[in-house]
Each structure stands twice: as C-alpha cells, then as structure tokens.
Symmetry: C2
Subunit: 493 residues, 2 copies
Amino acid sequence: MTAYDDLMAFERQTQALGQVAGRLGWDQETVMPRGAGAQRAEETEALEHVLHQRRTDPRVGDWLGAIEADKLDAVGQANLRHIRRRYERTQRVPITLAGEIARVTSSAQGIWAEARANNDFKAFQPVLEKVVALKQAEAQALADGGDAYDALLDDYEPGATAAELQAMFDALRPRLVALRDRIMGADHQPAPLMGSFAEPAQMKLTREIARAFGYDMAHGRIDKAVHPFSSGSGLDVRITTRTSPADPFGSIYSTVHEVGHACYEQNIDRDYLLTPLGAGVSMGVHESQSRIFENQLGRSRAFTGWLYTKMAEVFGPLSTPDADAFYGAVNRVTPGYIRTESDEVQYNLHVLLRFDLERDMIAGRLAVADLEEAWNTRFERDFGVAVDLPSNGCLQDVHWSVGLFGYFPTYSLGNVYAGCLMQALRDAMPEVDSHLAKGEPGKVTAWLADNLQRHGGLYEPREVITRACGRKAPSEAPLLDYLEAKFGEIYKL
Amino acid sequence: MTAYDDLMAFERQTQALGQVAGRLGWDQETVMPRGAGAQRAEETEALEHVLHQRRTDPRVGDWLGAIEADKLDAVGQANLRHIRRRYERTQRVPITLAGEIARVTSSAQGIWAEARANNDFKAFQPVLEKVVALKQAEAQALADGGDAYDALLDDYEPGATAAELQAMFDALRPRLVALRDRIMGADHQPAPLMGSFAEPAQMKLTREIARAFGYDMAHGRIDKAVHPFSSGSGLDVRITTRTSPADPFGSIYSTVHEVGHACYEQNIDRDYLLTPLGAGVSMGVHESQSRIFENQLGRSRAFTGWLYTKMAEVFGPLSTPDADAFYGAVNRVTPGYIRTESDEVQYNLHVLLRFDLERDMIAGRLAVADLEEAWNTRFERDFGVAVDLPSNGCLQDVHWSVGLFGYFPTYSLGNVYAGCLMQALRDAMPEVDSHLAKGEPGKVTAWLADNLQRHGGLYEPREVITRACGRKAPSEAPLLDYLEAKFGEIYKL
C-alpha cells in the first residue's frame, strides 16, 4: 500500500459516511415520524462529529505530504486536488471559530424563521450581525491574504472569483432589467393555466416525465416533501417533489429541476463511486444541469407542445386553447417578490441583488443594520415594485442565517452555464426540438451525460463547462440571446 | 467532568451512531432503490467500522478503570455494567478472529440462500463447518474457562445459562408433544378462515390494531417489507408488515408481534434515551413482549371476539359462522415444517430442536456432516412427520449461516416469560378480558409498560421479569397450563 492507496481507502469510508449523512437528511424530510426530531438531531450531530474528525485527521496531512503527485495519473491527481483543498481549508479555520459558527448558525436559523413569520427584521438583526462577523473572520482565515469573499465562494465554486462573476453579472443586469420592463409593458400577456388537477394524477405524470428526462428509478426514488430537493450520489440519488391541485407546473418543473441535479449525480462514471470525483463538481455546474433540464429543455416550445397534449389526455381539456397558449402559460412572467417562485427572466435579478449585498456585508461596506433599506432600494430599482413586507424582502431566504455566504451567485452562474451548454447542444444535435416534441428529452439529456455529467469531479468546474462547449470560454451572451429571443416571441415584443 | 461523565458522553454518541446504523437497515428493507445495494454495503461497512472502533476504543478501558462505581446511583451502576460487559467481550476476542468471523459469515449467508433454494445441504456443509469452528473459537475466547455455549448465549440473554434453559425446556417438551398429539387426533378440527381480503383494507385495519395495542405513530411508522421487523429505539421505532389477500391473519398477527417489540422500545423511560438503558434488555425479554402481545392477548378469545365483528364490518360476512369458530380459525394447529409459520403449541418444539442441535455442534458432539440426519430424526420424533426437503428442514433458518448460535433459545425463553407475565397480569388486572373484548388492548399493555417496559436496561433480564411477576421466579408451568387450557377448549379435548 502506498500513501495514496492509504489515503484513498480512508477517503472512501469518509465518502460512504457522508452518503449516510445525506440519507439521514432525506429520511428527516420525507419519512421520519414527527416526534423523532430530538433524537435525530443527536444522531446527525454524532455523525457530523465523526465526519469532522475524519476530515481533519492528521493522518490525512501525513499522507498528503508523502504522496508523489507527479507519479499519479489524471484521476489520481484530481482526487488529490479535491482532498488537499478540503483538508487545507479545514486546517486554516481555528477549531474554536468553526465551533462558534456551528453554534451560532444553528440558533440563528430558528431566530430567522420566527422573524420572518413576524415580519420583524430587527429581531433577526443581532444574530445576523454575529453571523456576518464570524463569516468575516472565517473568510479572513481561509483567504490567507487573498480576497475574503472569494475564499467563501471557493467552498461552492472552486476557482471562481467575485471579480469574474461581477463582470458577467454586470453584463446580465441591464439587459434583464430592460427585457423585464418590455415584458411587463407588452400588450400581449399570456393567460395562466386554470383549473384543478388531481394530485395522484400529477404524481403519476411527474414520475413519467422524470423517467423521460433520464432519471433512473433503479437508482433513485421520488417522494413528497415540503421543499423539493435532490439527495445522494452514485447508486442512490433520491428526489422529492410537492403537488398543489391548482398548480400542476409547480410539481412538474420542480421535479424536472431536481431530475437535472439527480441525473448529474447518477451519470457520473461509476469508477468514481465513493471518491471525491463521484459527485457534482460545484454548485454552479450542478445548477447548470438543473436549469437546462427545467428551462431550456423543459419549458421549451417543443417540449411544452408534447406536454400540452399529454396533460389534456391526463386531465381532460385544458383552459389554454392551443399549444402556443400553453407555452405562454408555462412561461408567464409576473411581478413577484420571491426568488424561488420567479421565472427565467427575473430569477437572475433576484440573485444579483443578493450577490452585491452579501459581498458588501462581508467586505464591511454594508452594515447589517442597513441591510433592509439597501435591499428595498435595490429591489425597487430592478423590479419596479416596492417591497411590502420583510418576509417578501430581505427575510425571505434561509441562506444568510445558516452562514451561506458565497452560495447565491452560483445560481446565476449555473444559468449562464446552462445558456452556454444549450448553445453547444444545439450545435452538436440539430434535431433537439424534434426529440423534445416527441416527449423524448432523454435523447437530449444523453448529450449532457456524455459531454459533462460523466466527468464528475475530474476537471475544475470552469474546465468541465468549456470542454462541453467545444473549448469556448463561458459567457453570459448565449443566455441573454436565448431569453430575449424566447420571451420576445412569447410576448410578441 | 468525571471519568463517568466522559464515558457517558462518548457512549451517547456511540448509541446515536448505532441508531443510525439501524435506520440504514430499515431503509434497505423498505425504501432503498433496487440498484443501490453495492453502495449501501460500503456505507454500512463504514459505519460498522466506526462503531467497532468506538466500542474497542482504549479510552473506554481507561474510563472504566478510573470510575469509582460505588459512588454511582443505580442508573449509573447499570450503565457501567452494560458498557463494561460489552467492552470486556470485545477485548476477549482477538481482532483477527473477529475479522474472520465477519468475513466468513458474510459469504456464508449467500451460500446458505443458494443451498436452500437448491435443497442441497452438502453445498452448505463446508461453509457451515467453517462458521461452527470459528464460533467455537470465539466461544472459547469469550468463556475464559467457563462454558463455551453460555458465553455465546450471553450475547443475547445476559446472565442466562444453558443448564437453566435446559431444565425449563426439558419440562416443556413432553407436555407440548403430548398436547400436539391430542390436538392432531381430536375429532373437532376448526375450519380455517376462507376468502379474499383486499390488501389496502388489511393495511388500514392493521394500522388501527397497532394503535389499539399502544403503538405510538408519532414515534414510529408502518411500512411493507418482505419480512416483518421492528427497528430502532427511543423516539423513532419503526415496524414493517406484509399482506397477502388470502391470509389477513398473517398481516394482523405479524404486526401485533412487532408492535410488542416496538412498544417495549417506545415505552422505556425517556431519561434513558441514547444510553445503554434505552433499549430492550435482552432477546428473551423482548420476545416475551412480542409474544404476549401476539398470543396471550391478540389470539385470546376476548380479543378475537372483537376482531371477528371488526373484520366482518371491514370485509363483509366471514366464512366462520360465529366468534367461537373465528377463534378456532385464528388458533388452528396444523402439521408444518417451518418454525416461522408455526402456532403457539408447536413453535417451542421447533426451537427446542435447534437449541439441542446447536449446543451439540458448539460442544463438538455433533459434526456438521451429521446435522441433516440429526435434524430429521429429531423432527420426526417430536412432530410425527418426516422432513421431505432440506429447505423444510435444517436449511430453513438463516441464523447459523450468519453465526447466530445461542440466539434460538431466547425465542422459547420469551414464550416462557410471556406465560409468567400473563399470569401476573391477570392477577393484577382481573378485567383483562373485558378490555380485550372491547378492542382496547392498550389498556392491558399499559400494565406491561408500567411494570416492565419502562425499565429498559436498568435491571438484569431475569430480574426485570421477576419484578413484574411479583418476585416469583420464572417457570414454564404458567405457559404450559395456559396452552393446555386454551387448546383443550378450542379442540374440545
């Protein structure tokens, strides 16, 4: 056994335990008895304790020091890169600081939930101030002299920098604001789909659509949960959905979104199972998969044409008179405060707002005391509407309460990547729309499996995107062109 | 922090991780995607590795050495007793032997399953010889000069000895054989319940019955699985069942059995949560709870009277003309080879056969090569029928293939304990039958919760039974008296 073999054997068990932790989370959100919460909290904490010990185990440092990296093949070097990055990050953060962050964010989430319920930002402010101060300290420790925000971002999007994202987002924002304005002012406004849709039939349809997009039910399952999510890697990747009688699109498109995440995990080369390469490489690349499944493919004119016929078969005649009207209903853009309920056009504006505000907070340019006002000012500027309540404004997302700074921009980066990938996909597969129109999106997503998903963590995030895009550097332009063309047509701009 | 506090903090995390392992097992048998098995095996192994490391952690030995036991209260001393016993057992078995047992039994189970499917004992014999030799070695190591079989038994029934069980079983066997013979020769033979029973209605009824027996759905859930089982301790105790259209009793009584196990776990004093006292104290005591729920209560004339009316409401008129005939159908005794399908009268004969054979194997008095013949000879003597196939004989149970020697007798010990407890229960609560006849068995099982279940691991197994039984020493007599009276009446002997 070489040091590399020892390290990988140890890592494999750590990965397996990480999967167990994910499975516990799935259990908690789907099947756990309602009175089991207190015990589950201890179970989860015990497992996290084991995982933390393994990730900071000094033997990992010894092995990393003993390995001759240049004797490893590309896979070995990629494994080493992942393990080294994680290990060095854990080493840089003092254990007292890590413990304090865990302690404070754990209580902050409850305080945030209550503050949101009471529409009372002042009740959240003190604990958010603590969280921000702790994340600033963590960022300083991680940055080791470099940019503090970049150090946090690196947890979710290794290798990305705020400056590079800022350049993309600066190009996105004016064209999105302009497109949004033109849509809101358009004479033609598509009608929504009306009616009541039986939930068991929705679940059956949703399962059929999940399979059609390529989701492998032998290595996954679909359950109901309050929030849709995807959980697990490798041979066991589960998703959840929710249904509402008045809104069948909620179930369908949240499922297609999660199927995008899940297919990415399911399609990674099986040789990488339970290694650092055996999971999606970053949040941005993950989101590119969920978004391209959901939007560029799922909300396309071609696929919604098939879906229109299918839903009429399942539910009887629909309120939308034809497939074009149905396409409009799927893609309606309406004013709204909530990011998670947003459409393709406005979604990134929500994210860009958060990206700017959180960078300012971490840099110390924006005091938490001024967050609410800064949010409301920016929201009105970009969306043309004044925020009515904190729960519709800066209290809407859980992220900051649990210390997720540097996470938000990966949502928009994923959208940008999805735009690039769709352009490459159309170049490589001119018959995309004919597959989608036949209700066979799996023939399209197979291209993503072959050209991107199978690599898992082999390449750096940006590298895996440029490889799939024929070595073209990622740019926001394809996404903007796509949105302007699509919504220009729907809204007859 | 004293050494005791340190030990208990460490133990609490170990207990929590043990619960996680149990949850993984539940997941595997109920909801796991069919293609996830290979990954799950690694996840389970990684978690077992962590648990093994913690159970053999030298710090446990240090803490045990530093604690002044006489300064602890009764709860503290009981905790110490459990932890010390487990730690000393792990210390006695050389690590290479423990590893070899794990390796061989892991492959033996598959070989057994195939041999059973092919009715080929010779195919199983070589690996069973290895298992027996390894268990002999383990028993020698554990016994430390004492009785080898007792050392194995101690894993499942701490404090019990084969000699003491033998005395009980020697008194059981002749009266059970005689009762069986008289039943088989009786003129009056109850007719079975005939018909087809919709499975969703069975599941609904089964859930209602589970609740009526006291199962707390806020801390549990019922799912379908190939084999019924109970899983977990404390705030999350789940059970499974199975249904068959022709046999509603299969679902009902396997559920009541598992509810007995589950209520024991649910009703343990919450102060013992995630400590060694927070789980059922032994297999025998556990089985006494499942058996008294299933048989003495569930198959009683009083409860089946209520069930007869209930089932007629749910399923329409039944083939049994009245409640007495229904009671006969529930308690029919028919010839059969399979332990798990057996009735109250014959069940213990199945167990006694295995107890004698496995003691002989561990003692080296019976060679594995002679097991099949020994089994068949004994079976014909006790049951009056010749074994037709190995799958109906010595290949029917999984236990020996996975190294469970010393486990079988706890089934009959549980039945003996159930007999004692039922006698004590009837003395303490003369209105037992009136509760059962009203479909309110929970009012009866509450006595078990108060007098036995709540203690968890506080007392030694035998002590917890004698306390519940008004300090009367356990004896097989109440069970025999109960069986002879009950079946004498049903079969008009």
